[in-house]
Symmetry: C2
Subunit: 230 residues, 2 copies
Amino acid sequence: MSISDRKRAVVLLSGGLDSSTCAALAAGEGFEICALTIDYGQRHAIELEAARRVAAALKVVEHKILKLDLRLFGASALTDDIDTPKDRAVEDAADIPVTYVPARNTIMLSLALAYAETRRAFDIFIGVNSLDYSGYPDCRPEFIAAFERLAALATKAGVEGADFRIRTPLLHLSKAEIIRTGTALGFDYGLTHSCYDPTPGGLSCGHCDSCLLRLKGFAEAGLKDPLRYA
Amino acid sequence: MSISDRKRAVVLLSGGLDSSTCAALAAGEGFEICALTIDYGQRHAIELEAARRVAAALKVVEHKILKLDLRLFGASALTDDIDTPKDRAVEDAADIPVTYVPARNTIMLSLALAYAETRRAFDIFIGVNSLDYSGYPDCRPEFIAAFERLAALATKAGVEGADFRIRTPLLHLSKAEIIRTGTALGFDYGLTHSCYDPTPGGLSCGHCDSCLLRLKGFAEAGLKDPLRYA
Protein backbone atom coordinates (compact mmCIF):
# COMPACT_ATOMS: atom_id res chain seq x y z
CA MET A 1 0.00 0.00 0.00
CA SER A 2 1.55 3.31 -1.05
CA ILE A 3 1.33 6.46 1.04
CA SER A 4 -1.18 8.01 -1.34
CA ASP A 5 -3.57 5.05 -0.94
CA ARG A 6 -3.67 5.45 2.80
CA LYS A 7 -6.57 7.14 4.48
CA ARG A 8 -5.80 10.30 6.37
CA ALA A 9 -6.87 11.15 9.92
CA VAL A 10 -6.54 14.20 12.11
CA VAL A 11 -5.50 13.29 15.64
CA LEU A 12 -5.81 15.78 18.50
CA LEU A 13 -2.53 15.24 20.27
CA SER A 14 -1.83 16.93 23.60
CA GLY A 15 1.16 14.77 24.44
CA GLY A 16 -0.71 13.22 27.34
CA LEU A 17 -1.36 9.54 27.89
CA ASP A 18 -4.84 9.38 26.36
CA SER A 19 -4.28 11.40 23.17
CA SER A 20 -0.97 9.62 22.56
CA THR A 21 -2.70 6.24 22.83
CA CYS A 22 -5.27 7.54 20.36
CA ALA A 23 -2.51 8.49 17.95
CA ALA A 24 -0.91 5.05 18.35
CA LEU A 25 -4.29 3.44 17.60
CA ALA A 26 -4.78 5.60 14.48
CA ALA A 27 -1.27 4.64 13.32
CA GLY A 28 -2.11 1.00 14.03
CA GLU A 29 -5.17 1.28 11.76
CA GLY A 30 -2.89 2.43 8.92
CA PHE A 31 -3.98 6.07 8.88
CA GLU A 32 -1.71 8.77 7.53
CA ILE A 33 -1.76 11.07 10.57
CA CYS A 34 -2.10 14.85 10.62
CA ALA A 35 -1.49 15.65 14.28
CA LEU A 36 -2.95 18.81 15.80
CA THR A 37 -1.75 20.19 19.11
CA ILE A 38 -3.54 23.16 20.61
CA ASP A 39 -1.31 25.34 22.73
CA TYR A 40 -4.13 26.90 24.73
CA GLY A 41 -2.02 28.72 27.29
CA GLN A 42 -2.09 25.85 29.76
CA ARG A 43 0.40 25.83 32.60
CA HIS A 44 2.00 22.55 31.57
CA ALA A 45 3.65 23.79 28.36
CA ILE A 46 6.00 20.86 28.86
CA GLU A 47 3.19 18.82 27.26
CA LEU A 48 4.01 20.46 23.92
CA GLU A 49 7.44 18.85 23.99
CA ALA A 50 5.79 15.51 24.74
CA ALA A 51 3.45 16.03 21.77
CA ARG A 52 6.44 16.64 19.49
CA ARG A 53 8.18 13.47 20.76
CA VAL A 54 5.06 11.35 20.26
CA ALA A 55 4.40 12.79 16.77
CA ALA A 56 7.99 12.00 15.74
CA ALA A 57 7.87 8.47 17.21
CA LEU A 58 4.64 7.71 15.34
CA LYS A 59 5.97 9.20 12.07
CA VAL A 60 3.01 11.51 11.47
CA VAL A 61 2.97 13.20 8.04
CA GLU A 62 2.26 16.62 9.51
CA HIS A 63 2.16 18.12 12.99
CA LYS A 64 0.56 21.52 13.49
CA ILE A 65 0.77 23.40 16.77
CA LEU A 66 -1.89 26.08 16.98
CA LYS A 67 -1.67 28.81 19.60
CA LEU A 68 -4.95 29.71 21.23
CA ASP A 69 -4.61 31.61 24.47
CA LEU A 70 -7.75 30.72 26.43
CA ARG A 71 -6.27 32.49 29.46
CA LEU A 72 -7.98 35.49 27.88
CA PHE A 73 -11.24 34.10 29.32
CA GLY A 74 -9.87 32.52 32.52
CA ALA A 75 -12.09 30.40 34.80
CA SER A 76 -10.18 27.10 34.88
CA ALA A 77 -7.34 25.77 37.02
CA LEU A 78 -5.53 24.82 33.80
CA THR A 79 -5.70 28.29 32.26
CA ASP A 80 -6.22 30.62 35.21
CA ASP A 81 -4.71 31.20 38.64
CA ILE A 82 -6.86 28.70 40.54
CA ASP A 83 -4.81 26.14 42.51
CA THR A 84 -4.54 22.64 41.05
CA PRO A 85 -6.21 20.21 43.47
CA LYS A 86 -3.82 17.73 45.11
CA ASP A 87 -4.26 14.23 46.55
CA ARG A 88 -8.01 14.12 45.97
CA ALA A 89 -9.75 10.76 46.11
CA VAL A 90 -10.12 10.05 42.39
CA GLU A 91 -13.19 7.88 42.93
CA ASP A 92 -15.05 10.79 44.56
CA ALA A 93 -14.74 13.10 41.56
CA ALA A 94 -18.48 13.12 40.78
CA ASP A 95 -18.62 16.90 40.55
CA ILE A 96 -17.24 18.78 37.58
CA PRO A 97 -13.57 19.39 38.48
CA VAL A 98 -12.08 22.91 38.67
CA THR A 99 -9.71 21.74 35.93
CA TYR A 100 -12.73 21.84 33.58
CA VAL A 101 -11.93 24.26 30.73
CA PRO A 102 -15.13 25.89 29.40
CA ALA A 103 -16.15 24.38 26.06
CA ARG A 104 -12.69 22.84 25.71
CA ASN A 105 -13.55 19.83 23.56
CA THR A 106 -15.99 21.85 21.44
CA ILE A 107 -13.13 24.21 20.62
CA MET A 108 -10.64 21.37 20.07
CA LEU A 109 -12.99 19.48 17.75
CA SER A 110 -13.90 22.66 15.84
CA LEU A 111 -10.25 23.33 15.12
CA ALA A 112 -9.65 19.68 14.24
CA LEU A 113 -12.64 19.85 11.89
CA ALA A 114 -11.20 22.89 10.09
CA TYR A 115 -7.84 21.16 9.75
CA ALA A 116 -9.47 17.91 8.64
CA GLU A 117 -11.51 19.64 5.96
CA THR A 118 -8.44 21.31 4.43
CA ARG A 119 -6.62 17.96 4.35
CA ARG A 120 -9.62 15.89 3.22
CA ALA A 121 -9.26 13.78 6.35
CA PHE A 122 -12.64 12.47 7.46
CA ASP A 123 -11.65 10.65 10.63
CA ILE A 124 -10.91 12.84 13.66
CA PHE A 125 -9.43 11.07 16.68
CA ILE A 126 -9.87 12.53 20.15
CA GLY A 127 -8.82 10.80 23.35
CA VAL A 128 -11.91 11.52 25.42
CA ASN A 129 -12.86 9.09 28.10
CA SER A 130 -16.20 8.89 29.82
CA LEU A 131 -15.02 6.66 32.65
CA ASP A 132 -12.09 8.30 34.40
CA TYR A 133 -13.26 11.81 33.48
CA SER A 134 -16.99 11.39 33.97
CA GLY A 135 -17.06 14.86 35.51
CA TYR A 136 -16.40 16.62 32.20
CA PRO A 137 -19.61 17.24 30.20
CA ASP A 138 -17.72 17.31 26.91
CA CYS A 139 -16.27 13.81 27.40
CA ARG A 140 -19.67 12.12 27.19
CA PRO A 141 -20.86 9.99 24.24
CA GLU A 142 -23.90 12.22 23.69
CA PHE A 143 -21.63 15.24 23.24
CA ILE A 144 -19.51 13.39 20.67
CA ALA A 145 -22.60 12.26 18.76
CA ALA A 146 -23.92 15.83 18.70
CA PHE A 147 -20.60 17.12 17.37
CA GLU A 148 -20.60 14.52 14.60
CA ARG A 149 -24.06 15.69 13.51
CA LEU A 150 -22.82 19.29 13.61
CA ALA A 151 -19.76 18.49 11.47
CA ALA A 152 -21.95 17.24 8.62
CA LEU A 153 -23.86 20.54 8.60
CA ALA A 154 -20.93 22.86 9.30
CA THR A 155 -18.61 22.16 6.41
CA LYS A 156 -18.40 22.37 2.65
CA ALA A 157 -17.15 18.77 2.61
CA GLY A 158 -20.10 17.69 4.77
CA VAL A 159 -22.60 19.39 2.47
CA GLU A 160 -20.91 17.65 -0.46
CA GLY A 161 -21.45 14.28 1.21
CA ALA A 162 -18.28 13.65 3.23
CA ASP A 163 -18.97 11.66 6.36
CA PHE A 164 -16.87 13.11 9.17
CA ARG A 165 -16.41 10.59 11.96
CA ILE A 166 -15.34 11.61 15.45
CA ARG A 167 -13.30 8.63 16.57
CA THR A 168 -13.17 8.06 20.33
CA PRO A 169 -11.54 4.65 20.80
CA LEU A 170 -10.87 5.33 24.49
CA LEU A 171 -14.40 6.39 25.35
CA HIS A 172 -15.31 3.38 27.47
CA LEU A 173 -11.86 2.18 28.53
CA SER A 174 -10.43 2.42 32.03
CA LYS A 175 -7.03 4.05 32.40
CA ALA A 176 -5.53 0.58 32.91
CA GLU A 177 -7.13 -0.66 29.68
CA ILE A 178 -5.84 2.40 27.80
CA ILE A 179 -2.31 1.74 29.04
CA ARG A 180 -2.53 -1.96 28.16
CA THR A 181 -3.80 -1.04 24.67
CA GLY A 182 -0.91 1.31 23.95
CA THR A 183 1.64 -1.05 25.45
CA ALA A 184 0.33 -3.89 23.24
CA LEU A 185 0.91 -1.61 20.23
CA GLY A 186 4.51 -1.13 21.34
CA PHE A 187 3.97 2.49 22.31
CA ASP A 188 6.47 4.00 24.78
CA TYR A 189 4.65 5.96 27.50
CA GLY A 190 7.96 7.46 28.54
CA LEU A 191 7.40 9.92 25.67
CA THR A 192 4.19 11.30 27.20
CA HIS A 193 3.43 13.80 29.94
CA SER A 194 0.38 13.95 32.21
CA CYS A 195 1.11 16.12 35.26
CA TYR A 196 -0.90 19.33 35.77
CA ASP A 197 1.80 20.77 38.03
CA PRO A 198 5.29 19.60 37.02
CA THR A 199 8.51 20.78 38.68
CA PRO A 200 10.55 23.40 36.79
CA GLY A 201 12.84 20.52 35.76
CA GLY A 202 9.90 18.65 34.20
CA LEU A 203 9.33 15.97 36.84
CA SER A 204 5.71 14.95 37.49
CA CYS A 205 4.27 15.93 40.88
CA GLY A 206 2.56 12.61 41.58
CA HIS A 207 -0.28 14.29 43.48
CA CYS A 208 -2.54 16.15 41.02
CA ASP A 209 -5.67 14.45 39.63
CA SER A 210 -3.87 13.63 36.39
CA CYS A 211 -0.85 12.01 38.09
CA LEU A 212 -3.09 10.07 40.48
CA LEU A 213 -5.20 8.69 37.60
CA ARG A 214 -2.10 7.81 35.64
CA LEU A 215 -0.35 6.05 38.53
CA LYS A 216 -3.53 4.17 39.45
CA GLY A 217 -3.86 3.11 35.79
CA PHE A 218 -0.33 1.75 35.61
CA ALA A 219 -0.78 -0.03 38.96
CA GLU A 220 -4.02 -1.67 37.81
CA ALA A 221 -2.47 -2.63 34.49
CA GLY A 222 0.39 -4.29 36.41
CA LEU A 223 2.91 -2.13 34.53
CA LYS A 224 5.55 0.32 35.62
CA ASP A 225 5.15 3.99 34.61
CA PRO A 226 8.39 4.95 32.81
CA LEU A 227 8.00 8.61 33.85
CA ARG A 228 10.07 10.12 36.67
CA TYR A 229 8.23 11.61 39.63
CA ALA A 230 9.39 14.33 42.03
CA MET B 1 -32.61 49.14 35.86
CA SER B 2 -29.09 48.91 37.30
CA ILE B 3 -26.18 47.38 35.42
CA SER B 4 -26.23 44.27 37.62
CA ASP B 5 -29.88 43.61 36.75
CA ARG B 6 -29.14 43.58 33.06
CA LYS B 7 -28.79 40.34 31.18
CA ARG B 8 -25.44 39.68 29.62
CA ALA B 9 -24.76 38.58 26.04
CA VAL B 10 -21.67 37.60 24.11
CA VAL B 11 -21.59 39.19 20.66
CA LEU B 12 -19.22 37.95 17.96
CA LEU B 13 -17.99 41.23 16.54
CA SER B 14 -15.80 41.28 13.43
CA GLY B 15 -16.23 44.98 12.79
CA GLY B 16 -18.15 44.24 9.59
CA LEU B 17 -21.62 45.43 8.72
CA ASP B 18 -23.52 42.33 9.84
CA SER B 19 -21.86 41.66 13.19
CA SER B 20 -21.97 45.37 14.05
CA THR B 21 -25.72 45.45 13.36
CA CYS B 22 -26.02 42.38 15.60
CA ALA B 23 -24.21 44.21 18.38
CA ALA B 24 -26.47 47.24 17.93
CA LEU B 25 -29.52 44.97 18.17
CA ALA B 26 -28.19 43.33 21.36
CA ALA B 27 -27.58 46.78 22.85
CA GLY B 28 -31.08 47.79 21.80
CA GLU B 29 -32.48 44.78 23.71
CA GLY B 30 -30.75 46.08 26.86
CA PHE B 31 -28.04 43.43 27.04
CA GLU B 32 -24.79 44.08 28.82
CA ILE B 33 -22.43 43.18 25.95
CA CYS B 34 -19.25 41.12 26.14
CA ALA B 35 -17.83 41.53 22.62
CA LEU B 36 -15.55 38.89 21.16
CA THR B 37 -13.40 39.53 18.11
CA ILE B 38 -11.44 36.66 16.63
CA ASP B 39 -8.25 37.76 14.92
CA TYR B 40 -7.93 34.68 12.74
CA GLY B 41 -5.11 35.88 10.55
CA GLN B 42 -7.38 37.32 7.90
CA ARG B 43 -5.94 39.73 5.37
CA HIS B 44 -8.19 42.60 6.33
CA ALA B 45 -6.71 43.26 9.79
CA ILE B 46 -8.17 46.73 9.38
CA GLU B 47 -11.43 45.09 10.50
CA LEU B 48 -9.98 44.83 14.01
CA GLU B 49 -9.85 48.61 14.22
CA ALA B 50 -13.45 48.75 13.07
CA ALA B 51 -14.40 46.24 15.78
CA ARG B 52 -12.77 48.45 18.42
CA ARG B 53 -14.62 51.52 17.15
CA VAL B 54 -17.97 49.72 17.13
CA ALA B 55 -17.39 48.24 20.61
CA ALA B 56 -16.57 51.70 21.98
CA ALA B 57 -19.57 53.34 20.28
CA LEU B 58 -21.93 50.71 21.72
CA LYS B 59 -20.38 50.98 25.21
CA VAL B 60 -19.74 47.25 25.63
CA VAL B 61 -18.67 46.19 29.15
CA GLU B 62 -15.81 44.06 27.84
CA HIS B 63 -14.14 43.53 24.48
CA LYS B 64 -11.82 40.57 24.04
CA ILE B 65 -9.68 40.11 20.93
CA LEU B 66 -8.51 36.52 20.61
CA LYS B 67 -5.71 35.64 18.21
CA LEU B 68 -6.21 32.42 16.31
CA ASP B 69 -4.03 32.05 13.27
CA LEU B 70 -6.01 29.82 10.91
CA ARG B 71 -3.44 30.53 8.18
CA LEU B 72 -1.74 27.53 9.77
CA PHE B 73 -4.30 25.39 7.87
CA GLY B 74 -4.70 27.56 4.76
CA ALA B 75 -7.33 26.75 2.10
CA SER B 76 -9.35 29.98 2.01
CA ALA B 77 -8.97 33.26 0.13
CA LEU B 78 -9.35 35.06 3.46
CA THR B 79 -6.54 33.19 5.21
CA ASP B 80 -4.41 31.84 2.36
CA ASP B 81 -2.82 33.14 -0.83
CA ILE B 82 -5.78 32.54 -3.13
CA ASP B 83 -6.87 35.69 -5.04
CA THR B 84 -9.98 37.45 -3.79
CA PRO B 85 -12.62 37.27 -6.56
CA LYS B 86 -13.53 40.65 -8.09
CA ASP B 87 -16.67 41.97 -9.80
CA ARG B 88 -18.53 38.66 -9.65
CA ALA B 89 -22.27 38.72 -10.23
CA VAL B 90 -23.49 38.46 -6.62
CA GLU B 91 -26.74 36.76 -7.68
CA ASP B 92 -24.81 33.91 -9.30
CA ALA B 93 -22.97 32.90 -6.14
CA ALA B 94 -24.76 29.55 -5.80
CA ASP B 95 -21.51 27.63 -5.28
CA ILE B 96 -19.60 27.78 -2.03
CA PRO B 97 -17.27 30.80 -2.48
CA VAL B 98 -13.48 30.50 -2.24
CA THR B 99 -13.73 32.94 0.67
CA TYR B 100 -15.29 30.06 2.67
CA VAL B 101 -13.11 29.44 5.74
CA PRO B 102 -13.28 25.77 6.81
CA ALA B 103 -15.46 25.33 9.90
CA ARG B 104 -15.29 29.10 10.53
CA ASN B 105 -18.57 29.57 12.36
CA THR B 106 -18.15 26.34 14.31
CA ILE B 107 -14.86 27.72 15.61
CA MET B 108 -16.29 31.21 16.24
CA LEU B 109 -19.29 29.85 18.15
CA SER B 110 -17.12 27.43 20.16
CA LEU B 111 -14.95 30.29 21.34
CA ALA B 112 -17.99 32.46 22.03
CA LEU B 113 -19.47 29.58 24.03
CA ALA B 114 -16.35 29.30 26.18
CA TYR B 115 -16.37 33.06 26.77
CA ALA B 116 -20.11 33.06 27.47
CA GLU B 117 -19.83 30.26 30.01
CA THR B 118 -17.13 32.08 31.99
CA ARG B 119 -19.26 35.26 32.04
CA ARG B 120 -22.59 33.49 32.68
CA ALA B 121 -23.94 34.99 29.47
CA PHE B 122 -26.50 32.69 27.89
CA ASP B 123 -27.29 34.64 24.74
CA ILE B 124 -24.69 34.48 21.98
CA PHE B 125 -25.23 36.82 19.03
CA ILE B 126 -23.75 35.99 15.64
CA GLY B 127 -24.43 37.94 12.47
CA VAL B 128 -24.95 35.03 10.12
CA ASN B 129 -27.23 35.51 7.19
CA SER B 130 -28.73 32.75 5.08
CA LEU B 131 -29.85 35.02 2.25
CA ASP B 132 -26.87 36.99 0.97
CA TYR B 133 -24.40 34.27 2.01
CA SER B 134 -26.41 31.21 1.06
CA GLY B 135 -23.20 29.62 -0.24
CA TYR B 136 -21.72 29.15 3.23
CA PRO B 137 -22.88 25.90 4.89
CA ASP B 138 -22.33 27.31 8.38
CA CYS B 139 -24.70 30.24 7.82
CA ARG B 140 -27.77 27.99 7.53
CA PRO B 141 -30.53 27.75 10.16
CA GLU B 142 -30.00 23.97 10.52
CA PHE B 143 -26.36 24.56 11.43
CA ILE B 144 -27.32 27.13 14.08
CA ALA B 145 -29.94 24.78 15.56
CA ALA B 146 -27.39 21.95 15.72
CA PHE B 147 -24.90 24.19 17.50
CA GLU B 148 -27.51 25.21 20.07
CA ARG B 149 -28.17 21.54 20.84
CA LEU B 150 -24.43 20.97 21.13
CA ALA B 151 -23.97 23.90 23.55
CA ALA B 152 -26.40 22.36 26.03
CA LEU B 153 -24.36 19.12 26.06
CA ALA B 154 -20.90 20.67 25.86
CA THR B 155 -20.79 22.86 28.94
CA LYS B 156 -20.92 22.69 32.71
CA ALA B 157 -23.55 25.46 32.65
CA GLY B 158 -25.60 23.51 30.09
CA VAL B 159 -25.50 20.33 32.19
CA GLU B 160 -26.60 22.43 35.16
CA GLY B 161 -29.63 23.64 33.22
CA ALA B 162 -28.53 26.87 31.55
CA ASP B 163 -30.23 27.41 28.22
CA PHE B 164 -27.69 28.79 25.76
CA ARG B 165 -29.37 30.58 22.88
CA ILE B 166 -27.59 31.26 19.61
CA ARG B 167 -29.17 34.52 18.52
CA THR B 168 -29.18 35.16 14.77
CA PRO B 169 -31.38 38.23 14.27
CA LEU B 170 -30.06 38.76 10.71
CA LEU B 171 -30.63 35.20 9.54
CA HIS B 172 -33.46 35.95 7.14
CA LEU B 173 -32.83 39.63 6.40
CA SER B 174 -31.57 41.02 3.10
CA LYS B 175 -28.53 43.28 3.24
CA ALA B 176 -30.86 46.26 2.65
CA GLU B 177 -33.05 45.21 5.60
CA ILE B 178 -29.97 44.79 7.81
CA ILE B 179 -28.80 48.30 6.92
CA ARG B 180 -32.27 49.77 7.52
CA THR B 181 -32.44 47.97 10.90
CA GLY B 182 -29.13 49.37 12.12
CA THR B 183 -29.88 52.83 10.76
CA ALA B 184 -33.23 52.86 12.59
CA LEU B 185 -31.31 52.09 15.81
CA GLY B 186 -29.10 55.12 15.13
CA PHE B 187 -26.05 53.03 14.37
CA ASP B 188 -23.30 54.70 12.31
CA TYR B 189 -22.09 52.37 9.53
CA GLY B 190 -19.14 54.67 8.97
CA LEU B 191 -17.55 52.83 11.93
CA THR B 192 -17.62 49.47 10.16
CA HIS B 193 -15.44 47.82 7.52
CA SER B 194 -16.42 45.21 4.93
CA CYS B 195 -13.84 45.06 2.14
CA TYR B 196 -11.86 41.83 1.63
CA ASP B 197 -9.10 43.71 -0.20
CA PRO B 198 -8.67 47.27 1.12
CA THR B 199 -5.97 49.68 -0.11
CA PRO B 200 -2.94 50.14 2.18
CA GLY B 201 -4.55 53.43 3.26
CA GLY B 202 -7.72 51.59 4.35
CA LEU B 203 -10.05 52.51 1.48
CA SER B 204 -12.51 49.83 0.36
CA CYS B 205 -11.93 48.34 -3.09
CA GLY B 206 -15.57 48.41 -4.19
CA HIS B 207 -15.16 45.25 -6.29
CA CYS B 208 -14.82 42.23 -3.97
CA ASP B 209 -17.91 40.15 -3.06
CA SER B 210 -18.17 41.90 0.29
CA CYS B 211 -18.03 45.44 -1.16
CA LEU B 212 -20.50 44.52 -3.91
CA LEU B 213 -22.99 43.10 -1.40
CA ARG B 214 -22.60 46.12 0.83
CA LEU B 215 -23.03 48.66 -1.96
CA LYS B 216 -26.02 46.79 -3.35
CA GLY B 217 -27.53 46.75 0.15
CA PHE B 218 -27.15 50.50 0.65
CA ALA B 219 -28.54 51.16 -2.85
CA GLU B 220 -31.60 48.96 -2.20
CA ALA B 221 -32.12 50.56 1.20
CA GLY B 222 -32.07 53.97 -0.47
CA LEU B 223 -29.23 55.07 1.81
CA LYS B 224 -25.73 56.34 1.20
CA ASP B 225 -22.79 54.22 2.39
CA PRO B 226 -20.68 56.51 4.61
CA LEU B 227 -17.49 54.54 3.79
CA ARG B 228 -14.91 55.85 1.33
CA TYR B 229 -14.09 53.73 -1.72
CA ALA B 230 -10.89 53.67 -3.78
